[in-house]
């Protein structure tokens, strides 16, 4: 066992915690204090947490240790991303840019993807805290929190939700709020049970944090602030995971080093920024914007495949790269 492992575990958890809470802190501070530096910080966070974090997924296409996984699952690594990019582009063209329902599906998947990452966060927290893996009750609380976030999102004023959904926004908000409260209550019950069973650890607090991941939707009156708190938190969490992975793998494979990863992020985010700019390519009748949405959804698919810790290949890969967590 490495002597550095406990310290690395602490730093990793600290990084994840900061990633989760930093956007809430900086966004709130920017609204309370009129400081230019806070605005700059939030712009930087927005950049890192949007296209940049999505582009980091390209790491998995260069990873030699995942070559066999890519070969066995061409559907997830090749055909699904291609199909999503081309299919969504074709769909937006066919709909002549009237894509409210496409965006609704996209955002629902995006928020579900956010919460799936929180399941991963909890698995890592459990292992690094040396406590039992998430119980069924804890998993239900996290899942419920994800549904609350999706329901609340569609009730957020100002988003391009379809007209038919918008008419039910008040009801969606109400059900979302009740669901969010249920998620937090379930988390608190799970916390009591775990503390009784295992004694003190940071795990229950982490679980409460992840169960309240979307709570800003129901607490904060500012739509932009509510969305930014969790969207940026998700992106920053992903950066912590990917740079930790890159530091472990880059030591022996230079093309996977943190510097290489940063270039992947920059190149990919420029591509996504250009594709996602609906004004720049208005001649494409939103076809390129559809491709942008498809590429982001491809990130959901590839990511879900690689971090599937229930599968032996992925579990072995992650455990090796994050050996300090499991030591």
């Amino acid at each position: 066992m490495s002597e550095l492992a406990p310290a690395r575990r602490r730093w990793f958890l600290l990084g994840l915690g900061m990633a989760t809470l930093l956007p809430l802190t900086t966004q709130t501070a920017a609204r309370l204090l009129d400081l230019k530096v806070l605005g700059d910080v939030n712009v930087t966070l927005a950049f890192l947490a949007s296209g940049f974090h999505v582009a980091l997924t390209s790491f998995f296409y260069l990873e030699p240790d995942l070559a066999e996984l890519r070969r066995l699952h061409r559907g997830r690594f090749v055909w699904a991303p291609l199909g999503l990019a081309l299919g969504t582009a074709a769909l937006t063209l066919w709909l002549h840019g009237d894509i409210a329902w496409v965006l609704a599906g996209y955002f629902a998947w995006q928020l579900y993807h956010y919460q799936r990452q929180n399941f991963g966060v909890m698995a890592f927290v459990a292992s690094s805290q040396k406590v039992a893996r998430p119980t069924t009750l804890e998993q239900v609380a996290l899942e419920v929190a994800g549904y609350a976030g999706i329901l609340g999102f569609f009730a957020l004023d100002g988003f391009a939700t379809p007209r038919k959904v918008g008419a039910f926004a008040a009801a969606l908000h109400q059900v979302g709020l009740s669901t969010q409260i249920a998620a937090v209550l379930l988390s608190l019950v799970a916390m009591v049970l775990r503390l009784k069973r295992e004694g003190w650890s940071w795990y229950p607090l982490w679980h409460l944090l992840c169960s309240g991941f979307f709570a800003g939707t129901f607490i904060l009156p500012d739509i932009g602030l509510a969305f930014a708190t969790y969207a940026y938190a998700h992106g920053l969490q992903y950066l912590v995971f990917m740079y930790s992975l890159s530091m472990a793998r880059g030591a022996t494979v230079p093309k996977l080093s943190p510097i290489a990863l940063t270039f992947m992020g920059l190149a990919g985010s420029i591509l996504l920024m250009v594709l996602g700019d609906r004004t720049m390519f208005s001649w494409s009748k939103d076809g390129l914007f559809g491709a942008y949405l498809g590429l982001v959804m491809a990130h959901f698919v590839v990511d879900a495949s690689v971090w599937r810790l229930g599968e032996p290949t992925q579990r072995a890969y992650v455990r090796k790269a994050f050996s300090f967590i499991w030591e």
Binding site: T136, Q139, V140, E143, V144, Y147, A148, L151, F154, A155, D157, G158, T161, R163, V165, G166, A167, F168, A169, A170, A171, L172, H173, Q174, V175, L177, S178, T179, I181, A182, A183, L186, P221
Partner: protein, 157 residues
């Protein structure tokens, strides 16, 4: 049945139970007192609270709630107009919805307007025809461009 499916089914049951709260909780109803501050309402382009309510400042004041307004509702206002706005049409609209018009006298009166909210907005917008400052009328030193003074707003389902 695998564990993930069990978790998903149990979670959907929780959401279904949460949906039952719709049966006994009104979606959005209640009276907003403009003389008070509220954690659930933001007054944009409105002045500070005064003992009777608060004045709008500028041409496009907005009241923003912390949750979406119902798809169709009646807004009951206790309000007055200032200066050149007395008797002139004041537009009330939910963003994306059809506008309603009211006219107000110089003293508080109760008016009702029916509003549609097709996009699930949480805001009510007002368009004030002639914001005017008391200073410009030689009344006092108040330089704020006042339009309407609202004492309360009720959302009636």
């Amino acid at each position: 049945m695998n564990d993930r499916l069990k978790v998903r089914l149990a979670s959907l049951c929780v959401v279904a139970l949460a949906a039952l709260t719709l049966l006994w909780t009104p979606l959005m109803a209640g009276r907003i007192d403009f003389a008070q501050t509220s954690a659930h309402v933001r007054f944009e382009q409105f002045g500070d609270a005064e003992p009777w309510g608060r004045w709008s400042i500028g041409a496009q004041p907005r009241v923003r709630f912390d949750r979406p307004l119902p798809a169709h509702f009646k807004a009951r206002l206790t309000a007055r107009a200032f200066g050149a706005n007395v008797g002139r049409p004041i537009v009330i609209r939910i963003p994306g919805g059809v506008a309603g018009e009211v006219s107000l006298s110089a003293t508080d009166q109760v008016i009702e307007v029916t509003l549609d909210n097709p996009f699930g907005s949480s805001a009510i917008d007002f368009t004030v025809p002639a914001p005017q400052s008391p200073a410009s009328l030689g009344m006092n030193a108040d330089g704020r461009a006042l339009g309407i003074g609202i004492a309360s707003l009720e959302v009636l389902p």
